[in-house]
Symmetry: C2
Subunit: 360 residues, 2 copies
């Protein structure tokens, strides 16, 4: 399957196919220049690195490999500099291709390195987790975290291709598979009611790694995301709808300490709070929130955030990138599959969040 | 005077006017959002910061000020993080405007911070040196240095406006004024023979800070540079011609240690070597090189690079961003005002550079 992201001079294909990594003839031409820099992590490297290197070396490329530690805690300036240092030491030129082999953290850090090296080189995303296959590898967002907030330092840098091999999900820990499901459920809930219903019928198959259901779901999520990105590449409007649940999720991740909650888990609990806030602000029917909770529960995702005081929630959310003129902005549902962005007053928020906060 | 840079959705004006900084009504509308982050250095701050702050505060903006140490040695990741840390600590949002008040180093580092903060915020360039007024503040290049090479980490991020007040040149050390002249001479030599002749007739007036000659020269350099940037924003071709003399210059700066040679001085000596190489490779008449040397001499710029072995020159130049497929590429003159990019073999280069190298 192929999904195209139509972005004019920056257009690119997303190739989705079981066994794709073993078929270099399908993607070798995307590797420009004579240097290929593979960025991966200590978990993914033993599984897929050697085969990828072999398939590239055959085509007379010089390979530089950077293996980062695994986890959100390594989505830092230090990791970014590790990649850039290696590229400079190897005298990589402007035609170099950076290949991100791994999940969302690898895609974001390697993507930012590609954006910054000599002011931008070619990037190929090879996402190996469900979350990165359905969401983070598409759309060109790259970033690192800062102690004061997630994804605060970054760039938009579109890849030249996204290569998705659902076979890589067979080695993925179940906890991470569930995190990918959270983003798929998000796509349905915020953007497309029929896809939400499809997810209601196929979540079990995806949890059981049914390759046909996986490929269909991945392609549908990529198609939805590509459409949003095509209409609003730099997130001046509609694209922010993809952040449904994320304002709360980022607060959960930072509040609990990076890595304690996985991103997809935080998004799941964040969507539960966001659905409740939606009912209070937009009048979204409470059944919508119940349907979302039921589907998240079927995917074995957490429905309840860690307990924090409201002041702490507010402080953590006040740094969110969607904010404007000092007000916290949220993605709210109007109904299933229909969402909008809206500023919410502190009092309204506090009232709606009562079930999720503790007094200090 | 106003020069417009036509870049579609990223178009912007360059305003050139003596006393411009004291006339906020001409530029206050470019400051978006409620936060303005002024980035400057310890030399410029005592001269222009207080007045600028006063003019902005009047318009109900919250100001964050970051004062870096002065000099190329501070064009580093550390300075970049200092700006980003301050912005995060002040909870700057996506509508924040970063104002670069200073020379090329400030413009490059502050510009990169604006490019990366929340994946990009508004940037205003207020160049206060002749070099940054005629060259580096226009075109959207931002960068920091790396121990292994100059400007190796960066981004393209166009400003929303460039504000040039030639009055700021009255406080500029003469050595820096001469560095700006080097880039003006470069514009004429590589791109525009009539402008080169104008420089032959006006270098003395510029050295004497004749405000009319300064404004005319600044506007003409900006116009030439804007034209090149409009035709090739991301430097896939023609824009690289602006790097005449720069392959050698970067080697001089790194070889001598950042800050020992000023950038404009290194460009001057670099142009002398590049003109000689041009004669050998393109058959550019040797009188062209002589004319360039004579004009550089009139501007009291150095004509002779520091002595280094050829191997050291070659090593330093082999990291240049114009390189491709392992070959060093140079901007070479075909005649006065006409240049092209060409790979040069190591042997040809070594022979042409004999007068500038020492044996080890």
């Amino acid at each position: 399957m192929q999904v195209d992201v139509h972005l004019g001079a920056r257009a690119y294909p997303i190739l989705i196919e079981a066994g794709l990594l073993a078929k270099p003839q399908k993607w070798i031409d995307f590797i420009h220049g004579k240097h290929a820099v593979i960025v991966t992590n200590t978990t993914v490297a033993p599984l897929y690195l050697a085969a990828l290197q072999k398939n590239i070396v055959q085509h007379h490329k010089k390979i530089i490999t950077v293996v980062l530690e695994d986890g959100e805690a390594y989505k830092t300036g230090t990791s970014l500099m590790q990649i850039l240092d290696a590229m400079l030491a190897a005298k990589c030129d402007r035609k170099t291709t950076v290949i991100a082999l791994g999940g969302g953290v690898i895609g974001d850090v390697a993507g930012l390195a590609a954006a910054l090296y000599m002011r931008g080189v070619t990037l190929i995303q090879i996402p190996t987790t469900l979350l990165s296959q359905v969401d983070s590898s598409v759309g060109g967002k790259t970033a690192i975290n800062h102690p004061l907030g997630k994804n605060m330092i970054g760039a938009f840098h579109q890849p030249i291709a996204v290569l998705i091999d659902p076979d890589t999900l067979t080695t993925l820990p179940k906890r991470e598979l569930r995190c990918g499901l959270a983003e798929m459920i998000k796509h349905g809930a915020a953007l497309d009611a029929p896809y939400f219903e499809w997810m209601q019928n196929n979540t079990k198959a995806i949890l059981e790694l049914d390759l046909s259901a996986l490929a269909t779901g991945i392609a549908e999520s990529c198609r939805l995301k590509a459409g949003v990105v095509e209409r609003d590449e730099r997130e001046s409007g509609e694209r922010a709808l993809l952040n449904f649940g994320h304002t709360f999720a980022h607060a959960i991740e930072v509040g609990a300490g990076y890595g304690t909650w996985f991103h997809g888990e935080a998004v799941a609990a964040g969507m539960v709070i966001a659905a409740q806030l939606s009912s209070a602000v937009t009048g979204c029917p409470s059944e919508v929130g119940q349907k979302i909770q039921a589907l998240l529960a079927e995917a074995h995702l957490p429905l309840t955030p860690p307990k924090m005081s409201f002041d702490r929630w507010y402080e953590l959310m006040s740094l969110d990138k969607k904010n404007n003129a000092g007000k916290i902005h949220f993605v709210l549902l109007e109904s299933l599959g229909v969402s909008r962005i809206q500023a919410v007053e502190r009092e309204t928020l506090q009232q709606s969040m009562q079930g999720f906060t503790v007094s200090v």
